[in-house]
Amino acid sequence: MWEAIWQYEFLRNAFVAGVLTGFTAPLLGVFIVVRRLSLIADALSHVTLAGIAAGLLLEKTIPAAASWNPLYIGMGFSVVGALFIEKLRAVYRHYEELAIPIVLSSGLGLSVIFISMANGFTTDLFSYLFGSVSAVSRADVWTAFAVAAAAAIVILTFYKELFLLSFDEEYARVSGVRTTLIHFLFIVLVALVIAASMRTVGVLLISSLMTLPVAASIRIAKSFKQVIGLSILFGELAVIAGLWAAYELDWAPGGTIVIAAVVILLFALGWKRGRQR
Protein backbone atom coordinates (compact mmCIF):
# COMPACT_ATOMS: atom_id res chain seq x y z
CA MET A 1 0.00 0.00 0.00
CA TRP A 2 2.86 2.36 0.85
CA GLU A 3 4.23 2.69 -2.72
CA ALA A 4 0.66 3.09 -3.99
CA ILE A 5 0.07 5.97 -1.55
CA TRP A 6 2.84 7.96 -3.24
CA GLN A 7 1.53 6.98 -6.64
CA TYR A 8 -2.23 7.64 -6.35
CA GLU A 9 -3.76 10.81 -5.01
CA PHE A 10 -7.04 9.14 -3.99
CA LEU A 11 -5.11 6.76 -1.70
CA ARG A 12 -3.09 9.61 -0.26
CA ASN A 13 -6.33 11.49 0.46
CA ALA A 14 -7.85 8.46 2.16
CA PHE A 15 -4.72 7.95 4.25
CA VAL A 16 -4.40 11.58 5.38
CA ALA A 17 -8.13 11.91 6.12
CA GLY A 18 -7.97 8.59 7.99
CA VAL A 19 -5.01 9.67 10.12
CA LEU A 20 -6.81 12.94 10.95
CA THR A 21 -9.93 10.98 11.92
CA GLY A 22 -7.82 8.60 14.01
CA PHE A 23 -6.73 11.66 15.97
CA THR A 24 -9.97 13.64 16.38
CA ALA A 25 -12.48 10.84 16.96
CA PRO A 26 -10.73 9.31 20.02
CA LEU A 27 -9.70 12.77 21.31
CA LEU A 28 -13.35 13.79 21.63
CA GLY A 29 -14.35 10.20 22.36
CA VAL A 30 -12.52 10.31 25.72
CA PHE A 31 -14.80 13.08 26.97
CA ILE A 32 -17.86 11.43 25.43
CA VAL A 33 -17.16 8.11 27.14
CA VAL A 34 -16.36 9.49 30.61
CA ARG A 35 -19.46 11.68 30.46
CA ARG A 36 -21.48 8.58 29.49
CA LEU A 37 -22.70 10.16 26.29
CA SER A 38 -21.47 7.37 23.97
CA LEU A 39 -24.81 7.00 22.22
CA ILE A 40 -24.92 10.67 21.26
CA ALA A 41 -22.35 9.94 18.57
CA ASP A 42 -24.64 7.24 17.16
CA ALA A 43 -27.63 9.57 17.11
CA LEU A 44 -25.64 12.34 15.43
CA SER A 45 -24.20 10.01 12.79
CA HIS A 46 -27.74 9.05 11.75
CA VAL A 47 -28.72 12.73 11.55
CA THR A 48 -25.61 13.35 9.44
CA LEU A 49 -26.76 10.54 7.15
CA ALA A 50 -30.02 12.44 6.62
CA GLY A 51 -27.97 15.51 5.65
CA ILE A 52 -25.86 13.47 3.22
CA ALA A 53 -28.99 11.92 1.70
CA ALA A 54 -30.50 15.41 1.34
CA GLY A 55 -27.29 16.58 -0.32
CA LEU A 56 -27.26 13.66 -2.74
CA LEU A 57 -30.96 14.23 -3.51
CA LEU A 58 -30.29 17.91 -4.28
CA GLU A 59 -27.34 16.87 -6.45
CA LYS A 60 -29.63 14.55 -8.42
CA THR A 61 -32.63 16.87 -8.76
CA ILE A 62 -31.14 20.37 -9.03
CA PRO A 63 -28.31 20.58 -11.56
CA ALA A 64 -26.98 23.79 -9.97
CA ALA A 65 -26.48 21.93 -6.67
CA ALA A 66 -24.21 19.32 -8.26
CA SER A 67 -21.12 21.20 -7.16
CA TRP A 68 -22.14 21.22 -3.49
CA ASN A 69 -20.35 18.74 -1.29
CA PRO A 70 -23.02 16.67 0.54
CA LEU A 71 -20.55 16.58 3.46
CA TYR A 72 -21.30 20.21 4.30
CA ILE A 73 -25.05 19.60 4.30
CA GLY A 74 -24.36 16.58 6.55
CA MET A 75 -22.39 18.86 8.86
CA GLY A 76 -25.26 21.34 9.02
CA PHE A 77 -27.72 18.55 9.88
CA SER A 78 -25.31 17.16 12.49
CA VAL A 79 -24.94 20.50 14.28
CA VAL A 80 -28.72 21.08 14.25
CA GLY A 81 -29.16 17.50 15.57
CA ALA A 82 -26.67 18.21 18.39
CA LEU A 83 -28.56 21.35 19.41
CA PHE A 84 -31.84 19.44 19.23
CA ILE A 85 -30.43 16.74 21.54
CA GLU A 86 -29.43 19.42 24.06
CA LYS A 87 -32.90 20.96 23.91
CA LEU A 88 -34.55 17.56 24.45
CA ARG A 89 -32.19 16.75 27.35
CA ALA A 90 -33.33 19.97 29.01
CA VAL A 91 -37.03 19.24 28.35
CA TYR A 92 -36.82 15.63 29.64
CA ARG A 93 -34.52 16.44 32.56
CA HIS A 94 -35.21 13.15 34.32
CA TYR A 95 -35.20 11.03 31.15
CA GLU A 96 -32.23 12.57 29.40
CA GLU A 97 -31.44 9.41 27.44
CA LEU A 98 -34.78 9.78 25.62
CA ALA A 99 -33.15 12.48 23.48
CA ILE A 100 -30.96 9.82 21.78
CA PRO A 101 -33.67 7.53 20.30
CA ILE A 102 -35.80 10.55 19.34
CA VAL A 103 -32.98 12.18 17.36
CA LEU A 104 -31.60 8.87 16.03
CA SER A 105 -34.95 7.72 14.66
CA SER A 106 -35.72 11.19 13.27
CA GLY A 107 -32.39 11.14 11.43
CA LEU A 108 -32.94 7.65 10.08
CA GLY A 109 -36.55 8.44 9.12
CA LEU A 110 -35.49 11.52 7.17
CA SER A 111 -32.66 9.56 5.50
CA VAL A 112 -35.07 6.88 4.28
CA ILE A 113 -37.48 9.53 2.95
CA PHE A 114 -34.71 11.39 1.07
CA ILE A 115 -33.36 8.12 -0.35
CA SER A 116 -36.88 7.10 -1.45
CA MET A 117 -37.47 10.52 -3.05
CA ALA A 118 -34.33 10.06 -5.11
CA ASN A 119 -35.43 6.54 -6.13
CA GLY A 120 -32.32 5.11 -4.49
CA PHE A 121 -28.68 6.07 -4.88
CA THR A 122 -25.74 4.30 -6.34
CA THR A 123 -22.47 3.35 -4.69
CA ASP A 124 -21.93 6.94 -3.55
CA LEU A 125 -24.30 6.45 -0.61
CA PHE A 126 -22.63 3.13 0.22
CA SER A 127 -19.32 4.97 0.54
CA TYR A 128 -20.85 7.39 3.02
CA LEU A 129 -22.36 4.54 5.03
CA PHE A 130 -19.27 2.38 5.37
CA GLY A 131 -16.38 4.58 4.25
CA SER A 132 -14.27 4.28 1.13
CA VAL A 133 -10.60 4.40 0.20
CA SER A 134 -11.36 5.74 -3.23
CA ALA A 135 -14.04 8.38 -2.59
CA VAL A 136 -12.06 10.83 -0.41
CA SER A 137 -11.52 14.08 -2.32
CA ARG A 138 -8.94 16.75 -1.64
CA ALA A 139 -11.76 18.98 -0.30
CA ASP A 140 -12.70 16.20 2.16
CA VAL A 141 -9.09 16.10 3.39
CA TRP A 142 -9.05 19.85 3.96
CA THR A 143 -12.37 19.62 5.80
CA ALA A 144 -10.99 16.83 8.02
CA PHE A 145 -7.87 18.93 8.64
CA ALA A 146 -9.87 22.04 9.61
CA VAL A 147 -12.07 20.03 11.97
CA ALA A 148 -9.04 18.27 13.53
CA ALA A 149 -7.34 21.64 14.10
CA ALA A 150 -10.54 23.07 15.63
CA ALA A 151 -10.87 20.01 17.90
CA ALA A 152 -7.24 20.25 19.06
CA ILE A 153 -7.55 23.99 19.76
CA VAL A 154 -10.84 23.66 21.67
CA ILE A 155 -9.61 20.71 23.77
CA LEU A 156 -6.29 22.40 24.57
CA THR A 157 -7.95 25.71 25.41
CA PHE A 158 -10.75 24.30 27.54
CA TYR A 159 -9.01 21.20 28.87
CA LYS A 160 -9.33 22.07 32.56
CA GLU A 161 -12.98 23.09 32.18
CA LEU A 162 -13.83 19.96 30.15
CA PHE A 163 -12.07 17.73 32.69
CA LEU A 164 -14.01 19.26 35.60
CA LEU A 165 -17.28 19.14 33.66
CA SER A 166 -16.69 15.44 32.92
CA PHE A 167 -15.65 14.50 36.44
CA ASP A 168 -18.10 16.55 38.48
CA GLU A 169 -20.62 18.74 36.68
CA GLU A 170 -22.14 20.12 39.91
CA TYR A 171 -18.77 21.22 41.25
CA ALA A 172 -17.99 22.85 37.91
CA ARG A 173 -21.19 24.89 38.19
CA VAL A 174 -20.64 25.78 41.84
CA SER A 175 -17.09 26.95 41.24
CA GLY A 176 -18.22 29.32 38.51
CA VAL A 177 -17.22 27.42 35.34
CA ARG A 178 -19.44 28.40 32.40
CA THR A 179 -20.71 24.85 31.95
CA THR A 180 -23.44 25.62 29.39
CA LEU A 181 -21.02 27.41 27.07
CA ILE A 182 -18.35 24.69 27.34
CA HIS A 183 -20.87 21.90 26.81
CA PHE A 184 -22.36 23.71 23.81
CA LEU A 185 -18.93 24.15 22.21
CA PHE A 186 -18.10 20.51 22.84
CA ILE A 187 -21.31 19.08 21.40
CA VAL A 188 -21.02 21.23 18.26
CA LEU A 189 -17.45 19.99 17.86
CA VAL A 190 -18.63 16.38 18.19
CA ALA A 191 -21.21 17.02 15.46
CA LEU A 192 -18.52 18.44 13.15
CA VAL A 193 -16.08 15.59 13.82
CA ILE A 194 -18.73 12.98 13.07
CA ALA A 195 -19.60 14.62 9.77
CA ALA A 196 -15.95 15.12 8.79
CA SER A 197 -15.00 11.52 9.63
CA MET A 198 -17.64 9.77 7.60
CA ARG A 199 -15.71 9.68 4.33
CA THR A 200 -13.16 7.32 5.83
CA VAL A 201 -15.04 5.32 8.44
CA GLY A 202 -18.60 5.85 7.31
CA VAL A 203 -21.65 7.19 9.06
CA LEU A 204 -22.65 3.92 10.67
CA LEU A 205 -19.28 3.14 12.23
CA ILE A 206 -17.85 6.50 13.29
CA SER A 207 -19.21 6.26 16.84
CA SER A 208 -17.17 3.08 17.35
CA LEU A 209 -13.96 4.93 16.48
CA MET A 210 -14.92 7.41 19.18
CA THR A 211 -15.52 4.76 21.81
CA LEU A 212 -13.48 1.56 21.12
CA PRO A 213 -9.98 3.12 21.45
CA VAL A 214 -11.15 4.82 24.66
CA ALA A 215 -12.59 1.56 26.00
CA ALA A 216 -9.16 -0.05 25.43
CA SER A 217 -7.08 2.78 26.93
CA ILE A 218 -9.28 3.21 30.00
CA ARG A 219 -8.31 -0.34 31.02
CA ILE A 220 -4.60 0.43 30.88
CA ALA A 221 -4.04 4.14 31.59
CA LYS A 222 -3.17 5.47 35.03
CA SER A 223 -4.14 9.09 34.47
CA PHE A 224 -6.64 11.05 32.40
CA LYS A 225 -3.91 12.48 30.17
CA GLN A 226 -2.66 8.94 29.54
CA VAL A 227 -6.19 7.92 28.55
CA ILE A 228 -6.18 10.67 25.93
CA GLY A 229 -2.69 9.75 24.63
CA LEU A 230 -3.38 6.02 24.45
CA SER A 231 -6.82 6.54 22.87
CA ILE A 232 -5.28 8.56 20.05
CA LEU A 233 -2.50 5.98 19.63
CA PHE A 234 -5.04 3.12 19.45
CA GLY A 235 -7.26 5.17 17.13
CA GLU A 236 -4.36 5.75 14.73
CA LEU A 237 -3.29 2.10 14.86
CA ALA A 238 -6.84 0.99 14.05
CA VAL A 239 -7.16 3.47 11.16
CA ILE A 240 -3.79 2.61 9.58
CA ALA A 241 -4.24 -1.17 9.98
CA GLY A 242 -7.85 -0.89 8.77
CA LEU A 243 -6.98 1.18 5.71
CA TRP A 244 -4.17 -1.22 4.82
CA ALA A 245 -6.51 -4.22 5.06
CA ALA A 246 -9.23 -2.38 3.12
CA TYR A 247 -6.79 -1.58 0.31
CA GLU A 248 -5.19 -5.02 0.17
CA LEU A 249 -8.46 -6.96 0.37
CA ASP A 250 -10.69 -4.45 -1.42
CA TRP A 251 -13.10 -4.23 1.52
CA ALA A 252 -14.94 -1.16 2.88
CA PRO A 253 -12.54 0.61 5.31
CA GLY A 254 -15.32 1.30 7.86
CA GLY A 255 -15.50 -2.41 8.62
CA THR A 256 -11.77 -3.09 8.68
CA ILE A 257 -11.00 -0.03 10.84
CA VAL A 258 -13.63 -0.95 13.40
CA ILE A 259 -12.56 -4.59 13.53
CA ALA A 260 -8.93 -3.45 13.98
CA ALA A 261 -10.15 -1.31 16.92
CA VAL A 262 -11.96 -4.34 18.36
CA VAL A 263 -8.75 -6.42 18.09
CA ILE A 264 -6.82 -3.68 19.94
CA LEU A 265 -9.54 -3.65 22.62
CA LEU A 266 -9.24 -7.43 23.04
CA PHE A 267 -5.45 -7.07 23.41
CA ALA A 268 -5.96 -4.37 26.06
CA LEU A 269 -8.42 -6.54 27.96
CA GLY A 270 -6.04 -9.51 27.77
CA TRP A 271 -3.08 -7.36 28.84
CA LYS A 272 -4.98 -6.08 31.86
CA ARG A 273 -6.04 -9.58 32.83
CA GLY A 274 -2.45 -10.80 32.46
CA ARG A 275 -1.24 -7.99 34.75
CA GLN A 276 -3.82 -8.82 37.39
CA ARG A 277 -2.65 -12.42 37.72
Binding site: V34, F167, Y171, S175, G176, I218
Partner: protein
Protein backbone atom coordinates in the same frame (compact mmCIF):
# COMPACT_ATOMS: atom_id res chain seq x y z
CA UNK B 1 -17.40 45.72 51.46
CA UNK B 2 -16.04 42.99 53.76
CA UNK B 3 -17.30 43.31 57.33
CA UNK B 4 -15.84 40.25 59.09
CA UNK B 5 -18.90 38.22 58.13
CA UNK B 6 -18.27 35.47 55.62
CA UNK B 7 -21.94 34.65 55.03
CA UNK B 8 -24.99 36.79 55.81
CA UNK B 9 -28.41 35.30 55.18
CA UNK B 10 -31.22 37.82 55.69
CA UNK B 11 -34.84 36.68 55.92
CA UNK B 12 -34.51 34.09 53.15
CA UNK B 13 -37.56 32.07 52.07
CA UNK B 14 -37.72 29.44 49.36
CA UNK B 15 -40.62 27.49 47.86
CA UNK B 16 -40.57 24.41 45.63
CA UNK B 17 -43.89 24.72 43.77
CA UNK B 18 -46.41 24.99 46.65
CA UNK B 19 -44.22 23.68 49.44
CA UNK B 20 -42.35 26.05 51.72
CA UNK B 21 -38.83 24.71 52.15
CA UNK B 22 -37.25 27.70 53.89
CA UNK B 23 -39.22 30.25 55.92
CA UNK B 24 -37.64 33.58 56.86
CA UNK B 25 -34.19 32.19 57.65
CA UNK B 26 -31.60 34.68 58.91
CA UNK B 27 -28.10 33.53 59.77
CA UNK B 28 -24.59 34.95 59.90
CA UNK B 29 -21.26 33.14 59.78
CA UNK B 30 -18.33 35.20 61.09
CA UNK B 31 -14.76 34.73 59.88
CA UNK B 32 -13.02 31.79 61.59
CA UNK B 33 -16.24 30.04 62.71
CA UNK B 34 -16.86 26.32 62.35
CA UNK B 35 -20.63 26.17 61.96
CA UNK B 36 -22.57 22.92 62.10
CA UNK B 37 -25.82 23.34 60.18
CA UNK B 38 -28.06 20.55 61.43
CA UNK B 39 -31.59 19.44 60.79
CA UNK B 40 -33.62 16.35 59.97
CA UNK B 41 -33.87 15.05 56.42
CA UNK B 42 -36.02 17.37 54.31
CA UNK B 43 -35.42 20.34 56.63
CA UNK B 44 -34.11 22.57 53.84
CA UNK B 45 -30.39 22.32 54.69
CA UNK B 46 -29.32 21.46 51.17
CA UNK B 47 -31.68 24.07 49.71
CA UNK B 48 -30.17 26.76 51.95
CA UNK B 49 -26.72 25.60 50.88
CA UNK B 50 -27.69 25.78 47.20
CA UNK B 51 -28.96 29.33 47.79
CA UNK B 52 -25.64 30.28 49.41
CA UNK B 53 -23.72 28.68 46.52
CA UNK B 54 -25.80 30.59 43.97
CA UNK B 55 -27.35 27.44 42.50
CA UNK B 56 -30.87 28.44 43.62
CA UNK B 57 -32.41 31.89 43.89
CA UNK B 58 -34.47 32.50 47.05
CA UNK B 59 -38.08 33.66 46.59
CA UNK B 60 -37.40 36.43 49.08
CA UNK B 61 -34.60 37.66 51.32
CA UNK B 62 -31.00 38.53 50.63
CA UNK B 63 -27.65 36.74 50.83
CA UNK B 64 -24.24 38.39 51.16
CA UNK B 65 -20.92 36.60 50.68
CA UNK B 66 -17.89 38.37 52.14
CA UNK B 67 -20.06 41.49 52.41
CA UNK B 68 -20.98 41.43 48.71
CA UNK B 69 -24.58 40.80 47.55
CA UNK B 70 -24.66 37.30 45.99
CA UNK B 71 -26.05 38.72 42.74
CA UNK B 72 -22.81 40.63 42.11
CA UNK B 73 -20.42 38.18 43.85
CA UNK B 74 -17.84 36.82 41.39
CA UNK B 75 -15.01 35.47 43.57
CA UNK B 76 -16.39 31.93 43.74
CA UNK B 77 -12.88 30.53 44.10
CA UNK B 78 -12.96 31.92 47.68
CA UNK B 79 -15.56 29.27 48.49
CA UNK B 80 -14.58 25.60 48.54
CA UNK B 81 -17.39 23.05 48.35
CA UNK B 82 -17.43 19.35 49.15
CA UNK B 83 -20.72 17.98 47.94
CA UNK B 84 -22.76 15.09 49.22
CA UNK B 85 -22.46 13.71 45.72
CA UNK B 86 -18.68 13.55 46.12
CA UNK B 87 -19.33 10.17 47.70
CA UNK B 88 -21.20 8.86 44.70
CA UNK B 89 -18.78 9.98 41.98
CA UNK B 90 -17.93 7.74 39.04
CA UNK B 91 -15.46 5.47 40.82
CA UNK B 92 -14.02 4.12 37.62
CA UNK B 93 -13.18 7.61 36.33
CA UNK B 94 -9.64 7.31 34.97
CA UNK B 95 -7.91 10.18 36.79
CA UNK B 96 -5.12 10.55 39.32
CA UNK B 97 -5.46 12.14 42.75
CA UNK B 98 -3.39 15.08 41.48
CA UNK B 99 -5.60 15.61 38.42
CA UNK B 100 -8.78 15.65 40.51
CA UNK B 101 -7.28 18.02 43.10
CA UNK B 102 -6.04 20.36 40.34
CA UNK B 103 -9.50 20.49 38.76
CA UNK B 104 -10.58 22.75 41.64
CA UNK B 105 -8.54 25.54 40.06
CA UNK B 106 -10.41 25.62 36.75
CA UNK B 107 -12.68 28.51 37.71
CA UNK B 108 -10.02 30.47 39.61
CA UNK B 109 -7.70 30.53 36.62
CA UNK B 110 -10.55 31.35 34.22
CA UNK B 111 -11.13 30.63 30.55
CA UNK B 112 -8.16 30.58 28.15
CA UNK B 113 -5.62 30.38 31.02
CA UNK B 114 -3.76 27.13 31.66
CA UNK B 115 -2.61 26.16 35.15
CA UNK B 116 0.67 27.78 36.23
CA UNK B 117 3.61 26.52 38.32
CA UNK B 118 2.12 28.42 41.23
CA UNK B 119 -1.12 26.47 40.76
CA UNK B 120 0.82 23.19 40.76
CA UNK B 121 2.42 24.20 44.06
CA UNK B 122 -1.03 25.08 45.47
CA UNK B 123 -2.24 21.58 44.53
CA UNK B 124 0.81 20.00 46.19
CA UNK B 125 0.18 22.08 49.32
CA UNK B 126 -3.51 21.13 49.35
CA UNK B 127 -2.66 17.43 49.05
CA UNK B 128 -0.07 17.81 51.83
CA UNK B 129 -2.67 19.54 54.03
CA UNK B 130 -4.96 16.51 53.78
CA UNK B 131 -2.08 14.03 54.16
CA UNK B 132 -2.14 12.64 50.62
CA UNK B 133 1.19 13.86 49.22
CA UNK B 134 2.45 10.33 48.68
CA UNK B 135 -0.60 9.31 46.67
CA UNK B 136 -0.64 12.14 44.10
CA UNK B 137 0.01 9.85 41.12
CA UNK B 138 -2.39 7.11 42.20
CA UNK B 139 -5.67 6.54 40.41
CA UNK B 140 -8.49 7.92 42.55
CA UNK B 141 -10.41 4.64 42.21
CA UNK B 142 -7.63 2.82 44.12
CA UNK B 143 -8.18 4.90 47.28
CA UNK B 144 -10.37 4.11 50.30
CA UNK B 145 -13.58 6.08 50.88
CA UNK B 146 -11.89 8.21 53.54
CA UNK B 147 -8.93 8.98 51.29
CA UNK B 148 -11.26 9.86 48.40
CA UNK B 149 -13.09 12.28 50.66
CA UNK B 150 -9.73 13.90 51.45
CA UNK B 151 -9.06 14.29 47.73
CA UNK B 152 -12.30 16.27 47.41
CA UNK B 153 -11.27 18.48 50.31
CA UNK B 154 -7.86 18.98 48.67
CA UNK B 155 -9.67 19.96 45.46
CA UNK B 156 -11.65 22.55 47.44
CA UNK B 157 -8.50 23.76 49.24
CA UNK B 158 -6.40 24.06 46.08
CA UNK B 159 -7.96 27.43 45.21
CA UNK B 160 -7.03 28.64 48.73
CA UNK B 161 -10.62 29.36 49.79
CA UNK B 162 -11.63 31.50 52.76
CA UNK B 163 -14.75 29.41 53.33
CA UNK B 164 -15.17 25.64 53.04
CA UNK B 165 -18.71 24.24 52.84
CA UNK B 166 -19.26 20.51 53.33
CA UNK B 167 -22.62 18.85 52.66
CA UNK B 168 -23.00 15.56 54.59
CA UNK B 169 -19.34 14.77 53.87
CA UNK B 170 -19.12 11.58 55.91
CA UNK B 171 -22.01 9.70 54.27
CA UNK B 172 -20.48 6.55 52.83
CA UNK B 173 -17.19 6.97 54.71
CA UNK B 174 -16.52 4.16 57.16
CA UNK B 175 -16.55 4.95 60.90
CA UNK B 176 -12.78 4.48 61.24
CA UNK B 177 -12.11 7.29 58.76
CA UNK B 178 -14.85 9.60 60.03
CA UNK B 179 -12.82 10.39 63.16
CA UNK B 180 -9.69 11.21 61.12
CA UNK B 181 -11.82 13.31 58.81
CA UNK B 182 -13.15 15.49 61.62
CA UNK B 183 -9.64 15.84 63.05
CA UNK B 184 -8.59 17.25 59.68
CA UNK B 185 -11.50 19.73 59.61
CA UNK B 186 -10.67 20.90 63.15
CA UNK B 187 -7.07 21.38 62.12
CA UNK B 188 -8.06 23.46 59.06
CA UNK B 189 -10.34 25.59 61.25
CA UNK B 190 -7.56 26.20 63.77
CA UNK B 191 -5.45 27.47 60.87
CA UNK B 192 -8.07 30.14 60.17
CA UNK B 193 -10.39 28.55 57.60
CA UNK B 194 -14.11 29.26 58.08
CA UNK B 195 -16.18 26.08 57.78
CA UNK B 196 -19.84 25.25 57.35
CA UNK B 197 -20.64 21.58 57.87
CA UNK B 198 -24.13 20.41 56.93
CA UNK B 199 -25.36 17.21 58.55
CA UNK B 200 -28.51 15.49 59.78
CA UNK B 201 -26.50 13.84 62.57
CA UNK B 202 -26.22 16.21 65.56
CA UNK B 203 -24.43 13.72 67.79
CA UNK B 204 -21.30 13.44 65.68
CA UNK B 205 -20.60 17.15 65.43
CA UNK B 206 -21.47 18.81 68.75
CA UNK B 207 -17.94 18.24 70.05
CA UNK B 208 -16.30 19.31 66.77
CA UNK B 209 -17.82 22.65 65.80
CA UNK B 210 -17.79 26.07 67.45
CA UNK B 211 -21.32 27.13 66.43
CA UNK B 212 -24.54 25.31 65.69
CA UNK B 213 -27.56 26.30 63.62
CA UNK B 214 -30.66 24.10 63.78
CA UNK B 215 -32.84 24.30 60.70
CA UNK B 216 -36.18 22.73 60.03
CA UNK B 217 -37.63 25.06 57.41
CA UNK B 218 -37.27 27.80 60.04
CA UNK B 219 -34.15 28.49 62.05
CA UNK B 220 -34.80 27.07 65.54
CA UNK B 221 -31.46 27.79 67.10
CA UNK B 222 -28.24 29.56 66.25
CA UNK B 223 -25.45 30.03 68.74
CA UNK B 224 -22.38 28.60 70.41
CA UNK B 225 -22.17 24.85 71.06
CA UNK B 226 -22.18 25.46 74.82
CA UNK B 227 -25.52 27.26 74.54
CA UNK B 228 -26.86 24.46 72.37
CA UNK B 229 -25.90 21.85 74.93
CA UNK B 230 -27.93 23.73 77.55
CA UNK B 231 -31.05 23.47 75.42
CA UNK B 232 -31.72 19.92 76.56
CA UNK B 233 -33.07 16.97 74.66
CA UNK B 234 -36.67 18.12 74.89
CA UNK B 235 -36.10 21.33 72.95
CA UNK B 236 -34.01 19.50 70.37
CA UNK B 237 -36.66 16.79 69.98
CA UNK B 238 -39.27 19.48 69.41
CA UNK B 239 -37.27 20.93 66.54
CA UNK B 240 -36.50 17.51 65.07
CA UNK B 241 -40.17 16.56 65.32
CA UNK B 242 -39.59 13.32 67.22
CA UNK B 243 -38.01 12.27 70.56
CA UNK B 244 -34.24 12.51 70.42
CA UNK B 245 -31.28 12.00 72.74
CA UNK B 246 -28.10 13.71 71.67
CA UNK B 247 -25.11 11.47 72.38
CA UNK B 248 -21.87 13.35 71.93
CA UNK B 249 -18.87 11.31 70.92
CA UNK B 250 -15.84 11.83 73.09
CA UNK B 251 -13.48 13.71 70.86
CA UNK B 252 -11.50 16.85 71.34
CA UNK B 253 -13.45 19.91 70.23
CA UNK B 254 -12.03 22.15 67.56
CA UNK B 255 -10.90 25.33 69.31
Amino acid sequence: MENGLVVQIEDVSFRYENENVLEHVSLTVPKGAFLGLVGPNGSGKSTLLKCVLGLLKPNSGRIFLFGEPIESFREWHRIGFVSQKANSFNRSFPATVEEVAASGLAAKRGLFRPLTHEDRRAVEAALAAVGLSGLAKRNIAELSGGQQQRVFIARALASKPDLLILDEPTVGVDARHVHEFYELLGDLNRRGLTLILVTHDIGTITDRVTDIACLNKRLYFHGKVEEFEHLGNEAISQFYGHPLHVLSHEHERAE
